[in-house]
Amino acid sequence: MSETYSDRFLMDILEEVTTFACVGVSGNPIRPSYFVARFLSLRGYSIIPVNPNYFGKRLFGSEVRADLGGISVDTQVDVVDIFRRSEEVPSIVEQALDRFPSLKVIWMQVGVANQYAATLARDAGVKVIQNRCPKIEHQRLYGELRMAGINTGIVSSKLQ
Protein backbone atom coordinates (compact mmCIF):
# COMPACT_ATOMS: atom_id res chain seq x y z
CA MET A 1 0.00 0.00 0.00
CA SER A 2 1.53 3.25 -1.01
CA GLU A 3 0.32 6.82 -0.82
CA THR A 4 0.31 9.11 -3.83
CA TYR A 5 1.04 12.83 -3.81
CA SER A 6 0.08 15.30 -6.50
CA ASP A 7 2.80 17.16 -8.37
CA ARG A 8 1.35 20.43 -7.00
CA PHE A 9 1.56 19.17 -3.40
CA LEU A 10 5.22 18.22 -3.85
CA MET A 11 6.15 21.41 -5.68
CA ASP A 12 4.46 23.55 -3.03
CA ILE A 13 6.59 21.84 -0.40
CA LEU A 14 9.83 22.12 -2.38
CA GLU A 15 9.17 25.81 -3.00
CA GLU A 16 8.08 26.66 0.53
CA VAL A 17 10.78 24.98 2.63
CA THR A 18 14.38 26.06 3.11
CA THR A 19 15.86 23.80 5.79
CA PHE A 20 16.10 20.00 5.87
CA ALA A 21 17.22 18.13 8.98
CA CYS A 22 18.53 14.88 7.45
CA VAL A 23 18.28 12.13 10.05
CA GLY A 24 20.61 9.22 9.33
CA VAL A 25 22.51 10.95 6.54
CA SER A 26 25.86 9.34 5.74
CA GLY A 27 29.20 11.06 5.41
CA ASN A 28 30.28 8.47 2.84
CA PRO A 29 30.09 10.14 -0.59
CA ILE A 30 28.86 7.03 -2.40
CA ARG A 31 25.92 6.40 -0.05
CA PRO A 32 22.48 7.36 -1.40
CA SER A 33 21.72 9.56 1.62
CA TYR A 34 24.88 11.58 0.95
CA PHE A 35 23.76 12.01 -2.69
CA VAL A 36 20.40 13.33 -1.52
CA ALA A 37 21.71 15.80 1.06
CA ARG A 38 24.45 17.01 -1.26
CA PHE A 39 21.94 17.57 -4.06
CA LEU A 40 19.54 19.49 -1.81
CA SER A 41 22.41 21.59 -0.53
CA LEU A 42 23.49 22.41 -4.11
CA ARG A 43 19.92 23.43 -4.91
CA GLY A 44 20.07 26.05 -2.15
CA TYR A 45 18.46 24.25 0.77
CA SER A 46 20.14 24.38 4.18
CA ILE A 47 21.06 20.93 5.46
CA ILE A 48 21.36 20.03 9.13
CA PRO A 49 22.99 16.57 9.19
CA VAL A 50 21.91 14.26 12.02
CA ASN A 51 23.89 11.08 12.63
CA PRO A 52 25.66 10.03 15.84
CA ASN A 53 28.39 8.28 13.82
CA TYR A 54 29.55 11.59 12.40
CA PHE A 55 28.85 13.70 15.47
CA GLY A 56 30.90 16.89 15.56
CA LYS A 57 32.14 16.59 11.97
CA ARG A 58 31.04 19.00 9.26
CA LEU A 59 28.94 17.97 6.26
CA PHE A 60 27.29 20.18 3.64
CA GLY A 61 28.52 23.30 5.44
CA SER A 62 26.95 22.39 8.74
CA GLU A 63 27.93 20.65 11.98
CA VAL A 64 26.63 17.07 12.32
CA ARG A 65 24.33 16.56 15.36
CA ALA A 66 23.97 13.27 17.20
CA ASP A 67 20.17 13.51 17.24
CA LEU A 68 17.37 16.03 16.75
CA GLY A 69 17.89 17.11 20.40
CA GLY A 70 21.22 18.56 19.28
CA ILE A 71 19.47 21.18 17.13
CA SER A 72 18.62 24.39 18.94
CA VAL A 73 14.89 24.95 19.37
CA ASP A 74 15.41 28.42 17.91
CA THR A 75 16.50 26.92 14.56
CA GLN A 76 13.77 26.95 11.93
CA VAL A 77 13.57 23.34 10.77
CA ASP A 78 11.10 22.99 7.89
CA VAL A 79 11.57 19.35 6.95
CA VAL A 80 12.71 16.34 8.94
CA ASP A 81 13.97 13.98 6.22
CA ILE A 82 14.27 10.44 7.57
CA PHE A 83 16.88 7.96 6.31
CA ARG A 84 16.23 5.37 9.02
CA ARG A 85 14.39 2.06 9.18
CA SER A 86 10.60 2.35 9.26
CA GLU A 87 10.34 1.04 12.83
CA GLU A 88 12.59 3.84 14.07
CA VAL A 89 10.39 6.53 12.56
CA PRO A 90 7.90 7.03 15.45
CA SER A 91 10.50 8.09 18.01
CA ILE A 92 12.09 10.48 15.48
CA VAL A 93 8.72 12.00 14.62
CA GLU A 94 7.71 12.31 18.27
CA GLN A 95 10.93 14.13 19.05
CA ALA A 96 10.57 16.36 15.97
CA LEU A 97 6.99 17.36 16.76
CA ASP A 98 7.96 18.06 20.35
CA ARG A 99 11.04 20.10 19.51
CA PHE A 100 10.05 22.08 16.39
CA PRO A 101 6.56 23.60 16.76
CA SER A 102 6.76 25.25 13.33
CA LEU A 103 7.86 22.06 11.52
CA LYS A 104 6.19 21.84 8.11
CA VAL A 105 7.00 18.40 6.71
CA ILE A 106 7.97 14.90 7.78
CA TRP A 107 9.60 13.29 4.74
CA MET A 108 10.36 9.55 4.79
CA GLN A 109 12.81 8.33 2.14
CA VAL A 110 12.23 5.55 -0.40
CA GLY A 111 11.59 2.32 1.47
CA VAL A 112 10.65 4.15 4.66
CA ALA A 113 7.01 4.35 5.80
CA ASN A 114 5.26 4.33 9.14
CA GLN A 115 1.52 4.87 9.30
CA TYR A 116 1.43 5.48 13.04
CA ALA A 117 4.02 8.24 12.80
CA ALA A 118 2.37 9.66 9.70
CA THR A 119 -0.97 9.99 11.50
CA LEU A 120 0.73 11.51 14.51
CA ALA A 121 2.36 14.19 12.36
CA ARG A 122 -0.74 14.92 10.29
CA ASP A 123 -2.80 15.29 13.47
CA ALA A 124 -0.28 17.94 14.53
CA GLY A 125 -0.81 19.83 11.25
CA VAL A 126 2.43 18.65 9.67
CA LYS A 127 2.48 17.42 6.06
CA VAL A 128 3.75 13.88 5.56
CA ILE A 129 5.44 12.19 2.61
CA GLN A 130 6.31 8.51 2.81
CA ASN A 131 8.46 6.29 0.59
CA ARG A 132 9.68 9.13 -1.64
CA CYS A 133 12.98 10.90 -2.21
CA PRO A 134 13.14 14.71 -2.31
CA LYS A 135 16.10 14.55 -4.70
CA ILE A 136 14.25 12.36 -7.20
CA GLU A 137 11.07 14.44 -6.89
CA HIS A 138 12.99 17.68 -7.36
CA GLN A 139 14.83 16.25 -10.38
CA ARG A 140 11.57 14.94 -11.81
CA LEU A 141 9.48 18.06 -11.26
CA TYR A 142 12.11 20.59 -12.36
CA GLY A 143 13.33 18.86 -15.47
CA GLU A 144 16.61 17.21 -14.52
CA LEU A 145 15.35 13.65 -15.00
CA ARG A 146 14.11 14.55 -18.47
CA MET A 147 17.76 14.46 -19.47
CA ALA A 148 17.99 10.76 -18.64
CA GLY A 149 14.88 9.39 -20.35
CA ILE A 150 12.93 9.04 -17.12
CA ASN A 151 9.13 9.06 -17.33
CA THR A 152 8.46 12.26 -15.37
CA GLY A 153 4.71 12.19 -16.01
CA ILE A 154 4.85 15.86 -16.82
CA VAL A 155 3.02 17.18 -19.87
CA SER A 156 3.25 20.91 -20.44
CA SER A 157 3.14 23.40 -23.29
CA LYS A 158 4.74 26.09 -21.12
CA LEU A 159 8.29 27.36 -21.33
CA GLN A 160 10.28 26.26 -18.31
Binding site: F35, I136, Q139, M147, A148, G149
Partner: protein, 430 residues
Protein backbone atom coordinates in the same frame (compact mmCIF):
# COMPACT_ATOMS: atom_id res chain seq x y z
CA UNK B 1 7.17 7.67 -8.68
CA UNK B 2 4.94 9.67 -10.96
CA UNK B 3 1.82 10.75 -9.12
CA UNK B 4 0.73 13.38 -11.63
CA UNK B 5 -2.46 13.32 -13.66
CA UNK B 6 -2.88 10.31 -15.93
CA UNK B 7 -3.01 11.39 -19.56
CA UNK B 8 -4.54 9.42 -22.41
CA UNK B 9 -2.41 7.59 -24.95
CA UNK B 10 -3.19 10.06 -27.76
CA UNK B 11 -2.00 12.96 -25.59
CA UNK B 12 1.17 11.21 -24.43
CA UNK B 13 2.23 10.18 -27.95
CA UNK B 14 2.44 13.88 -28.83
CA UNK B 15 3.49 15.52 -25.58
CA UNK B 16 5.39 13.09 -23.34
CA UNK B 17 9.05 14.06 -23.10
CA UNK B 18 8.62 17.13 -25.28
CA UNK B 19 8.13 20.37 -23.46
CA UNK B 20 9.00 23.51 -25.44
CA UNK B 21 12.74 23.87 -25.88
CA UNK B 22 13.97 25.78 -22.80
CA UNK B 23 16.58 27.75 -24.76
CA UNK B 24 14.50 28.93 -27.71
CA UNK B 25 10.85 28.10 -27.10
CA UNK B 26 10.91 25.89 -30.19
CA UNK B 27 7.71 23.87 -29.99
CA UNK B 28 8.90 20.84 -31.94
CA UNK B 29 11.80 19.04 -30.22
CA UNK B 30 14.97 20.35 -31.92
CA UNK B 31 17.63 18.04 -33.29
CA UNK B 32 20.49 18.68 -30.88
CA UNK B 33 23.31 17.91 -33.26
CA UNK B 34 26.16 18.13 -30.78
CA UNK B 35 28.68 15.65 -29.49
CA UNK B 36 29.37 17.20 -26.09
CA UNK B 37 28.02 19.69 -23.53
CA UNK B 38 29.74 22.42 -21.54
CA UNK B 39 29.98 21.98 -17.75
CA UNK B 40 29.01 24.87 -15.46
CA UNK B 41 32.28 24.43 -13.57
CA UNK B 42 34.62 21.67 -12.41
CA UNK B 43 32.40 20.70 -9.48
CA UNK B 44 29.47 20.26 -11.86
CA UNK B 45 31.61 18.10 -14.15
CA UNK B 46 32.72 15.96 -11.22
CA UNK B 47 29.14 15.55 -9.98
CA UNK B 48 27.97 14.46 -13.43
CA UNK B 49 30.76 11.93 -13.78
CA UNK B 50 30.00 10.61 -10.27
CA UNK B 51 26.27 10.31 -11.16
CA UNK B 52 25.45 12.66 -8.28
CA UNK B 53 23.63 14.92 -10.70
CA UNK B 54 21.87 14.25 -13.96
CA UNK B 55 22.98 16.20 -17.00
CA UNK B 56 24.38 15.96 -20.46
CA UNK B 57 28.03 15.01 -20.78
CA UNK B 58 28.59 13.39 -24.14
CA UNK B 59 26.14 12.17 -26.79
CA UNK B 60 27.24 8.55 -26.57
CA UNK B 61 25.44 8.63 -23.21
CA UNK B 62 22.68 11.19 -23.44
CA UNK B 63 21.36 13.78 -25.88
CA UNK B 64 18.34 16.08 -25.50
CA UNK B 65 16.58 14.86 -28.67
CA UNK B 66 17.14 11.23 -27.78
CA UNK B 67 16.07 11.91 -24.17
CA UNK B 68 12.72 13.29 -25.36
CA UNK B 69 12.13 10.07 -27.29
CA UNK B 70 13.19 7.94 -24.33
CA UNK B 71 10.71 9.64 -22.03
CA UNK B 72 7.95 9.40 -24.61
CA UNK B 73 8.41 5.66 -25.14
CA UNK B 74 8.65 5.11 -21.36
CA UNK B 75 5.40 7.04 -20.87
CA UNK B 76 3.56 5.13 -23.60
CA UNK B 77 4.69 1.79 -22.17
CA UNK B 78 3.91 2.82 -18.59
CA UNK B 79 7.53 2.34 -17.51
CA UNK B 80 9.79 4.23 -15.12
CA UNK B 81 12.31 5.11 -17.82
CA UNK B 82 13.75 4.10 -21.16
CA UNK B 83 17.10 3.98 -22.90
CA UNK B 84 17.25 4.31 -26.66
CA UNK B 85 19.94 2.70 -28.78
CA UNK B 86 20.97 2.11 -32.35
CA UNK B 87 18.65 -0.77 -33.32
CA UNK B 88 16.27 -3.38 -32.01
CA UNK B 89 19.12 -5.88 -31.95
CA UNK B 90 21.15 -3.46 -29.85
CA UNK B 91 18.15 -3.11 -27.51
CA UNK B 92 18.14 -6.85 -26.92
CA UNK B 93 21.83 -6.92 -26.02
CA UNK B 94 21.41 -3.78 -23.88
CA UNK B 95 18.50 -5.40 -22.01
CA UNK B 96 20.50 -8.53 -21.26
CA UNK B 97 23.85 -6.89 -20.52
CA UNK B 98 23.11 -5.83 -16.89
CA UNK B 99 21.57 -9.22 -16.10
CA UNK B 100 24.02 -11.65 -17.64
CA UNK B 101 27.53 -12.93 -17.19
CA UNK B 102 29.55 -15.91 -18.36
CA UNK B 103 27.65 -19.13 -17.67
CA UNK B 104 24.29 -17.39 -17.38
CA UNK B 105 21.36 -18.18 -19.64
CA UNK B 106 17.97 -16.94 -20.73
CA UNK B 107 14.89 -19.01 -21.37
CA UNK B 108 13.29 -17.75 -24.55
CA UNK B 109 10.27 -18.44 -26.68
CA UNK B 110 11.16 -20.25 -29.90
CA UNK B 111 8.67 -18.05 -31.77
CA UNK B 112 10.97 -15.18 -32.60
CA UNK B 113 12.17 -13.00 -35.43
CA UNK B 114 14.87 -14.99 -37.27
CA UNK B 115 17.57 -12.44 -36.55
CA UNK B 116 16.83 -12.76 -32.84
CA UNK B 117 17.08 -16.55 -33.02
CA UNK B 118 20.54 -16.16 -34.55
CA UNK B 119 21.59 -13.52 -32.01
CA UNK B 120 20.44 -15.69 -29.12
CA UNK B 121 21.53 -19.10 -30.41
CA UNK B 122 24.95 -18.08 -31.75
CA UNK B 123 26.24 -14.58 -31.15
CA UNK B 124 25.62 -14.26 -27.42
CA UNK B 125 27.69 -17.42 -26.88
CA UNK B 126 30.73 -15.27 -27.61
CA UNK B 127 29.98 -13.55 -24.28
CA UNK B 128 29.61 -16.88 -22.51
CA UNK B 129 25.83 -16.42 -22.40
CA UNK B 130 23.36 -18.95 -23.73
CA UNK B 131 19.68 -19.29 -24.57
CA UNK B 132 17.28 -22.15 -24.04
CA UNK B 133 14.54 -22.13 -26.66
CA UNK B 134 11.17 -23.38 -25.46
CA UNK B 135 7.62 -23.59 -26.74
CA UNK B 136 5.85 -21.03 -24.56
CA UNK B 137 2.52 -22.76 -25.24
CA UNK B 138 3.84 -25.42 -22.89
CA UNK B 139 4.24 -23.48 -19.65
CA UNK B 140 5.60 -26.55 -17.87
CA UNK B 141 8.50 -26.65 -20.33
CA UNK B 142 9.21 -22.97 -19.67
CA UNK B 143 9.22 -23.64 -15.97
CA UNK B 144 11.40 -26.73 -16.40
CA UNK B 145 13.94 -24.81 -18.49
CA UNK B 146 14.55 -22.19 -15.81
CA UNK B 147 17.58 -23.13 -13.73
CA UNK B 148 19.79 -21.47 -11.14
CA UNK B 149 21.79 -19.73 -13.89
CA UNK B 150 18.74 -18.33 -15.72
CA UNK B 151 18.59 -14.56 -15.58
CA UNK B 152 15.53 -13.75 -17.73
CA UNK B 153 12.60 -15.11 -19.70
CA UNK B 154 12.21 -13.59 -23.17
CA UNK B 155 9.32 -13.49 -25.65
CA UNK B 156 7.67 -11.33 -28.31
CA UNK B 157 4.17 -9.99 -27.64
CA UNK B 158 2.99 -10.80 -31.17
CA UNK B 159 5.55 -13.18 -32.56
CA UNK B 160 7.03 -12.33 -35.88
CA UNK B 161 6.09 -13.94 -38.26
CA UNK B 162 3.93 -16.71 -36.82
CA UNK B 163 0.78 -14.79 -35.87
CA UNK B 164 1.26 -15.94 -32.30
CA UNK B 165 0.27 -14.02 -29.18
CA UNK B 166 2.34 -14.80 -26.08
CA UNK B 167 0.52 -15.33 -22.80
CA UNK B 168 2.43 -12.57 -21.08
CA UNK B 169 0.86 -12.83 -17.64
CA UNK B 170 1.52 -16.57 -17.36
CA UNK B 171 5.16 -16.09 -18.39
CA UNK B 172 5.48 -13.19 -15.96
CA UNK B 173 4.20 -15.43 -13.17
CA UNK B 174 6.90 -18.01 -13.89
CA UNK B 175 9.57 -15.29 -14.03
CA UNK B 176 8.29 -13.83 -10.79
CA UNK B 177 8.36 -17.20 -9.04
CA UNK B 178 12.05 -17.54 -9.93
CA UNK B 179 12.80 -13.90 -9.10
CA UNK B 180 13.97 -13.13 -12.63
CA UNK B 181 12.61 -10.52 -15.05
CA UNK B 182 10.36 -11.17 -18.04
CA UNK B 183 11.65 -9.30 -21.11
CA UNK B 184 9.08 -8.70 -23.83
CA UNK B 185 9.84 -7.55 -27.36
CA UNK B 186 6.82 -5.36 -28.08
CA UNK B 187 7.91 -4.21 -31.55
CA UNK B 188 5.11 -5.67 -33.62
CA UNK B 189 2.35 -4.80 -31.13
CA UNK B 190 3.51 -1.31 -30.06
CA UNK B 191 2.25 0.10 -26.76
CA UNK B 192 -0.96 1.10 -28.54
CA UNK B 193 -1.99 -2.53 -28.94
CA UNK B 194 -0.37 -3.95 -25.79
CA UNK B 195 1.51 -2.66 -22.77
CA UNK B 196 3.43 -5.70 -21.49
CA UNK B 197 4.27 -4.04 -18.15
CA UNK B 198 0.57 -4.22 -17.29
CA UNK B 199 0.87 -8.01 -17.67
CA UNK B 200 3.89 -8.27 -15.41
CA UNK B 201 6.83 -7.69 -17.77
CA UNK B 202 9.88 -6.12 -16.13
CA UNK B 203 11.57 -4.93 -19.32
CA UNK B 204 10.15 -4.10 -22.74
CA UNK B 205 12.36 -3.88 -25.80
CA UNK B 206 11.60 -2.32 -29.16
CA UNK B 207 12.92 -2.00 -32.61
CA UNK B 208 11.80 1.63 -32.99
CA UNK B 209 12.63 1.17 -36.69
CA UNK B 210 9.20 -0.38 -37.18
CA UNK B 211 5.77 0.98 -36.21
CA UNK B 212 7.05 3.55 -33.70
CA UNK B 213 8.82 5.43 -36.50
CA UNK B 214 6.39 4.09 -39.07
CA UNK B 215 8.04 5.58 -42.12
CA UNK B 216 10.87 3.18 -42.87
CA UNK B 217 13.45 5.92 -42.45
CA UNK B 218 15.75 5.13 -39.53
CA UNK B 219 16.86 2.25 -37.38
CA UNK B 220 16.64 2.42 -33.61
CA UNK B 221 15.89 0.52 -30.46
CA UNK B 222 14.59 1.10 -26.96
CA UNK B 223 14.65 -0.66 -23.61
CA UNK B 224 11.89 0.32 -21.21
CA UNK B 225 12.19 -0.57 -17.52
CA UNK B 226 9.05 -0.99 -15.46
CA UNK B 227 10.94 0.19 -12.38
CA UNK B 228 9.24 -2.49 -10.28
CA UNK B 229 11.84 -5.26 -10.10
CA UNK B 230 13.75 -5.74 -6.84
CA UNK B 231 17.29 -6.25 -8.17
CA UNK B 232 18.69 -6.58 -4.64
CA UNK B 233 16.35 -9.29 -3.38
CA UNK B 234 18.67 -12.08 -4.54
CA UNK B 235 22.36 -12.18 -5.50
CA UNK B 236 21.47 -12.88 -9.15
CA UNK B 237 22.02 -9.37 -10.48
CA UNK B 238 25.33 -8.10 -9.11
CA UNK B 239 25.67 -5.41 -11.80
CA UNK B 240 22.67 -3.67 -10.27
CA UNK B 241 22.87 -4.72 -6.64
CA UNK B 242 26.61 -4.78 -5.93
CA UNK B 243 29.24 -2.00 -5.89
CA UNK B 244 30.20 -0.72 -9.34
CA UNK B 245 33.93 -0.10 -9.24
CA UNK B 246 33.86 2.31 -12.17
CA UNK B 247 31.68 4.61 -10.03
CA UNK B 248 33.65 4.45 -6.78
CA UNK B 249 31.68 1.48 -5.46
CA UNK B 250 28.23 2.96 -5.94
CA UNK B 251 25.39 0.41 -5.95
CA UNK B 252 22.93 1.24 -8.73
CA UNK B 253 19.79 -0.27 -7.24
CA UNK B 254 20.41 1.07 -3.77
CA UNK B 255 21.20 4.53 -5.10
CA UNK B 256 18.65 4.97 -7.86
CA UNK B 257 15.83 2.65 -6.76
CA UNK B 258 13.20 2.34 -9.48
CA UNK B 259 15.43 4.29 -11.88
CA UNK B 260 18.42 1.92 -11.46
CA UNK B 261 18.07 -0.06 -14.66
CA UNK B 262 17.67 3.07 -16.77
CA UNK B 263 20.67 4.81 -15.20
CA UNK B 264 22.73 1.65 -15.57
CA UNK B 265 21.73 1.48 -19.24
CA UNK B 266 23.15 4.94 -19.79
CA UNK B 267 26.08 5.03 -17.36
CA UNK B 268 27.40 1.54 -18.07
CA UNK B 269 25.52 0.17 -21.10
CA UNK B 270 25.84 3.06 -23.52
CA UNK B 271 29.11 4.20 -21.98
CA UNK B 272 30.83 0.89 -22.68
CA UNK B 273 28.85 -0.78 -25.46
CA UNK B 274 28.37 2.47 -27.38
CA UNK B 275 25.22 1.39 -29.26
CA UNK B 276 23.95 4.93 -29.27
CA UNK B 277 20.94 6.32 -31.12
CA UNK B 278 21.76 9.46 -33.05
CA UNK B 279 19.67 12.64 -32.57
CA UNK B 280 18.58 12.79 -36.21
CA UNK B 281 17.21 9.27 -35.91
CA UNK B 282 15.44 10.14 -32.66
CA UNK B 283 13.83 13.12 -34.40
CA UNK B 284 12.25 10.94 -37.11
CA UNK B 285 10.97 8.52 -34.51
CA UNK B 286 9.54 11.34 -32.37
CA UNK B 287 7.63 12.59 -35.43
CA UNK B 288 6.41 9.08 -36.20
CA UNK B 289 5.13 8.38 -32.69
CA UNK B 290 2.92 11.49 -32.81
CA UNK B 291 0.53 9.54 -35.07
CA UNK B 292 1.10 6.04 -33.67
CA UNK B 293 -2.46 5.35 -32.49
CA UNK B 294 -4.00 6.62 -35.74
CA UNK B 295 -1.69 4.49 -37.82
CA UNK B 296 -2.09 1.38 -35.71
CA UNK B 297 -5.89 1.57 -35.97
CA UNK B 298 -5.63 1.74 -39.74
CA UNK B 299 -2.93 -0.97 -39.90
CA UNK B 300 -5.19 -3.32 -37.91
CA UNK B 301 -8.32 -2.47 -39.95
CA UNK B 302 -6.49 -3.10 -43.20
CA UNK B 303 -4.88 -6.28 -41.91
CA UNK B 304 -8.22 -7.77 -40.96
CA UNK B 305 -9.69 -6.96 -44.41
CA UNK B 306 -6.74 -8.39 -46.33
CA UNK B 307 -6.45 -11.47 -44.11
CA UNK B 308 -10.17 -12.23 -44.43
CA UNK B 309 -9.95 -11.92 -48.20
CA UNK B 310 -6.87 -14.12 -48.41
CA UNK B 311 -8.41 -16.79 -46.22
CA UNK B 312 -11.20 -17.25 -48.78
CA UNK B 313 -8.82 -17.47 -51.74
CA UNK B 314 -8.56 -20.94 -53.31
CA UNK B 315 -4.77 -20.68 -53.78
CA UNK B 316 -4.22 -20.01 -50.10
CA UNK B 317 -4.25 -22.92 -47.68
CA UNK B 318 -3.77 -21.04 -44.44
CA UNK B 319 -3.59 -17.51 -43.03
CA UNK B 320 -1.89 -17.23 -39.64
CA UNK B 321 -3.25 -14.00 -38.24
CA UNK B 322 -4.44 -13.84 -34.65
CA UNK B 323 -7.03 -11.29 -35.78
CA UNK B 324 -8.99 -13.98 -37.62
CA UNK B 325 -11.54 -16.12 -35.75
CA UNK B 326 -9.87 -19.17 -37.34
CA UNK B 327 -6.67 -18.47 -35.38
CA UNK B 328 -6.11 -20.57 -32.25
CA UNK B 329 -4.93 -17.34 -30.61
CA UNK B 330 -7.96 -15.22 -31.57
CA UNK B 331 -9.41 -15.48 -28.07
CA UNK B 332 -6.23 -13.93 -26.60
CA UNK B 333 -6.66 -10.63 -28.41
CA UNK B 334 -9.32 -9.28 -26.09
CA UNK B 335 -7.24 -10.04 -23.00
CA UNK B 336 -3.68 -9.28 -24.19
CA UNK B 337 -3.97 -6.79 -27.07
CA UNK B 338 -7.49 -5.41 -27.00
CA UNK B 339 -6.80 -2.83 -29.71
CA UNK B 340 -5.95 -5.50 -32.25
CA UNK B 341 -3.58 -8.27 -33.26
CA UNK B 342 -1.25 -6.07 -35.29
CA UNK B 343 -0.77 -6.00 -39.04
CA UNK B 344 1.89 -8.59 -39.60
CA UNK B 345 0.88 -12.08 -40.70
CA UNK B 346 1.76 -14.94 -42.95
CA UNK B 347 -0.14 -17.07 -45.40
CA UNK B 348 0.65 -20.42 -46.92
CA UNK B 349 0.42 -21.00 -50.65
CA UNK B 350 -0.98 -24.23 -51.97
CA UNK B 351 1.61 -24.37 -54.73
CA UNK B 352 4.69 -24.11 -52.51
CA UNK B 353 8.05 -22.39 -52.70
CA UNK B 354 8.13 -21.56 -56.44
CA UNK B 355 4.65 -20.00 -56.35
CA UNK B 356 5.67 -17.92 -53.32
CA UNK B 357 8.69 -16.53 -55.13
CA UNK B 358 6.62 -15.74 -58.25
CA UNK B 359 3.91 -14.11 -56.14
CA UNK B 360 6.39 -11.86 -54.39
CA UNK B 361 8.00 -10.85 -57.68
CA UNK B 362 4.61 -9.99 -59.21
CA UNK B 363 3.39 -7.50 -56.59
CA UNK B 364 3.20 -3.84 -57.66
CA UNK B 365 2.19 -1.98 -54.45
CA UNK B 366 3.72 -4.28 -51.83
CA UNK B 367 7.47 -3.77 -51.59
CA UNK B 368 9.69 -6.81 -51.40
CA UNK B 369 12.10 -5.99 -48.60
CA UNK B 370 13.27 -7.04 -45.14
CA UNK B 371 11.39 -4.73 -42.82
CA UNK B 372 8.00 -4.44 -41.18
CA UNK B 373 5.82 -1.79 -39.60
CA UNK B 374 6.17 0.73 -42.41
CA UNK B 375 3.26 2.95 -43.58
CA UNK B 376 3.57 1.14 -46.92
CA UNK B 377 2.74 -2.51 -47.34
CA UNK B 378 5.65 -4.89 -47.40
CA UNK B 379 6.16 -8.50 -48.36
CA UNK B 380 8.89 -11.02 -47.78
CA UNK B 381 9.44 -14.69 -48.27
CA UNK B 382 10.96 -15.39 -44.86
CA UNK B 383 12.40 -18.84 -45.66
CA UNK B 384 14.64 -17.41 -48.38
CA UNK B 385 15.56 -14.20 -46.54
CA UNK B 386 15.11 -13.24 -42.85
CA UNK B 387 14.88 -16.85 -41.66
CA UNK B 388 17.34 -18.24 -44.21
CA UNK B 389 20.05 -18.96 -41.64
CA UNK B 390 17.77 -21.17 -39.57
CA UNK B 391 17.45 -24.92 -39.68
CA UNK B 392 14.20 -26.35 -41.12
CA UNK B 393 13.09 -27.11 -37.54
CA UNK B 394 13.79 -23.54 -36.43
CA UNK B 395 11.96 -22.23 -39.52
CA UNK B 396 8.95 -24.32 -38.64
CA UNK B 397 8.96 -23.21 -35.01
CA UNK B 398 9.11 -19.59 -36.14
CA UNK B 399 6.32 -20.07 -38.69
CA UNK B 400 8.62 -19.46 -41.63
CA UNK B 401 8.34 -22.60 -43.73
CA UNK B 402 9.26 -22.54 -47.48
CA UNK B 403 5.61 -22.18 -48.64
CA UNK B 404 4.89 -19.23 -46.36
CA UNK B 405 4.77 -15.55 -47.36
CA UNK B 406 4.84 -12.76 -44.80
CA UNK B 407 2.91 -9.55 -45.23
CA UNK B 408 3.28 -6.33 -43.27
CA UNK B 409 0.08 -4.51 -44.08
CA UNK B 410 0.42 -0.75 -44.49
CA UNK B 411 -2.07 2.06 -44.28
CA UNK B 412 -2.94 2.37 -47.97
CA UNK B 413 -6.46 1.85 -49.33
CA UNK B 414 -7.21 -1.80 -48.45
CA UNK B 415 -9.04 -2.40 -51.73
CA UNK B 416 -5.90 -1.49 -53.64
CA UNK B 417 -3.87 -3.89 -51.50
CA UNK B 418 -6.34 -6.70 -52.17
CA UNK B 419 -6.31 -5.96 -55.91
CA UNK B 420 -2.52 -6.07 -55.92
CA UNK B 421 -2.45 -9.42 -54.12
CA UNK B 422 -5.17 -10.74 -56.42
CA UNK B 423 -3.24 -9.98 -59.61
CA UNK B 424 0.01 -11.33 -58.14
CA UNK B 425 -1.67 -14.59 -57.07
CA UNK B 426 -3.03 -14.94 -60.60
CA UNK B 427 0.45 -14.45 -62.06
CA UNK B 428 1.98 -16.92 -59.60
CA UNK B 429 -0.24 -19.64 -61.01
CA UNK B 430 0.62 -18.97 -64.62
Amino acid sequence: MNDGPAYGFDTLQIHAGARPDPATGARQTPIYQTTAYVFRDSDHAAALFNLQEVGYIYSRLTNPTVAALQERIAALEGGAGAVCCSSGHAAQIMSLFPLMGPGRNIVTSNRLYGGTVTQFSRTIQRFGWSAKFVDTEDLASVEAAVDEHTRAIFCETIANPGGYISVLDALAAIADKHRIPLIVDNTSATPYLCRPIEYGATLVVHSTTKYLTGTGTVTGGAIVDSGTFDWSETDKFPSLSQPEQAYHGLKFHETFGSLAFTFHGIAVGLRDLGMTMNPQGAHYTLLGIETLSLRMKKHVENAIKVAEWLERHPMVTKVTYAGLPSSPYFSRIERICPNGAGALFTFTMKDGYEACVKFVDSLEIFSHLANLGDARSLVIHSASTTHRQLTPEQQKAAGAEPDVVRLSIGIEDPDDLIADIDQALAKSAS
